[in-house]
Symmetry: C2
């Protein structure tokens, strides 16, 4: 299996991206094509020992910046590392694309080059939320705003298929994120999505969950509009980071607290490893004709390696084929 | 100043509500009318020493349950503690209404009995977010779904006036909650709200903030749709509760950790006091012709007392008068 990695995408590219790719080749048994300016990649690669028959370079002369306008950037920079990586997947030279660069540009490139799956109007980003009760899929976590009921229903099907084929969850429990538990709660689109999912036979729909149940509810997939999903994810991320920073500050105040801090550190590490996105590594854009894994902009090598593992599982689990099948089987999604 | 308190609303009513009212009478210098079945309230009041000239009872024979349908409940139960409390404000016998009961019913009762302010289509709930950088107002935190740009702009003005007149913040910085910082980011309604606020002269609009900046951005007021606000608040609440529960569990595992837990407890207490909603006590429904403070369903006495303090500040700060004035001065809100 060959995976195309955008070597120039992300806050710590190319060094950390390439380091992650080298680790993945050793540990995940995949082959990697690093995409970007040949000289820069070669120079970085030379810092590592790696099996040279399993890492190759695809030259790309341009780079899309983190703040470039997505649609404009992918149209103008056809020879960017991102676009060339997408083309490798389109041409069948790679089975998946990974990038930690401009998320909007990656969505635009995936739509433009790979195309939508038949029946899908708006592909969604599926993010895995680690929780004490095990992983759960939040979809859409930011690809779409102003979604209608039909889109949210499609997110439910996309998320369900992802949970089955990549996480190995049988008959995943699917919920809607809402402001209350009752079917009549929430916005018009979510209420209509509820009615459609309630009547659907091929999906294990378990109703609404609220924000406070995100990590504790007995569900496997949570479907929502991308505006809501994005704000929720970033709020959780911000809150967790804040709490850690505040704790560090307060524990420095006196020697008793510092000792206490040392003694509780293993417990804190256990807790934060449950929430560690570097272990999750990337969120696929579901609903396109290929596997496109979006990584956090601040991904270090470990997150890149995890994303490559996610990509490899998605390929082995025939994620795209299964999604097509699920959509064909279920008229309710359209 | 007289404040009407729904004695029967909330998970711990009437005992904790009445205890909170008794404390507030002593400490906040207000007079209280407790509203509910006379006998039940008298019995509960008799457990306390209190200045009997400053607490009275308004009899109400009915109670609206936490899960009753709001609109139906307020129409049918005219003699409920909530409706009678709202009537006291309407008739000028009390300056504010406080309840920890059914939130939807309180909104419905406030709209039905007090009425909207001229120019306001959809009143919004303003919740104070405690943060290390000081309090900030999130509006709407759940009264409205499917809001249009004009509503979000009105939330901005309502929140700004609340920050000025109750929190005492001069020229509050107002932001929109969005999926990115750029003006062209987000849903149609948020993008249009951005354009309107950007051109408004009477408001200190500072742009978009993302979920991760909720507690750290240099802003005083954050305006958003009520669906988003509700999910975000509940997510933050759920995450914080989860972290505390997980920490307690992991710290019980061995004696070193238990000792560590004891040593770090003061630091944790300091942190959580920054986030303590019982210190905030209630969120006003802004945009109605009167002061209606919504308390968390699980409010204990301390939260009720804080809510009464909030109500008292809102009355002293002429919150409703100032909002009317702000709306008249600013054509952009309509």
């Amino acid at each position: 299996m060959i995976i195309a990695v955008d070597a120039m995408g992300g806050d710590f590219a190319p060094a950390e991206v390439i380091r992650g790719a080298v680790e993945a080749v050793r540990e995940e048994g995949v082959e990697i094509i690093l995409v970007g300016p040949e000289k820069i990649i070669e120079e970085e690669l030379n810092k590592h020992h790696y099996p040279s028959d399993r890492i190759s370079i695809a030259n790309a002369t341009e780079i899309i910046g983190m703040n470039e306008h997505p649609a404009t950037a992918v149209r103008r920079k056809r020879d960017s590392s991102l676009m060339v990586a997408a083309q490798l997947v389109k041409k069948g030279k790679a089975s998946a694309l990974i990038s930690a660069g401009n998320t909007g540009a990656q969505m635009a490139a995936s739509l433009l080059v790979l195309g939508r799956l038949a029946g899908i109007e708006r592909p969604g980003i599926a993010t895995i939320l680690p929780s004490p009760k095990g992983p759960r899929v939040l979809i859409d976590s930011g690809a779409n705003v102003d979604t209608r009921a039909v889109h949210i229903v499609q997110f439910a099907y996309l998320g369900k298929t992802y949970a089955e084929s990549v996480l190995g969850i049988a008959n995943p429990r699917v919920a809607l994120l809402n402001v209350g538990g009752e079917p009549n709660k929430g916005s018009e689109s979510v209420r209509e999505a509820y009615r459609i999912l309630e009547g659907a036979e091929k999906i294990n729909f378990v109703g609404n969950i609220e924000g406070r149940d995100l990590l504790t509810a007995d569900v496997d997939v949570i479907a929502c509009d991308g505006f809501v999903g994005n704000v929720v994810l970033k709020t959780a991320e911000g809150l967790a980071m804040n709490l850690v920073a505040m704790m560090k500050n307060r524990l420095r105040k006196n020697p008793f607290r510092m000792l206490g801090g040392i003694l509780v550190r293993p417990a804190l590490k256990e807790i934060f490893s449950d929430f560690d996105y570097t272990e999750i590594g990337g969120a696929p854009l579901l609903g396109v004709q290929g596997i496109s894994i979006i990584c956090h902009g601040s991904s270090h090598a470990r997150a890149i390696r995890s994303a490559i593992r996610t990509a490899s599982r998605a390929v082995k689990g025939d994620l795209v084929g299964r999604i097509s099948k699920a959509l064909n089987l279920e008229d309710n999604t359209q």
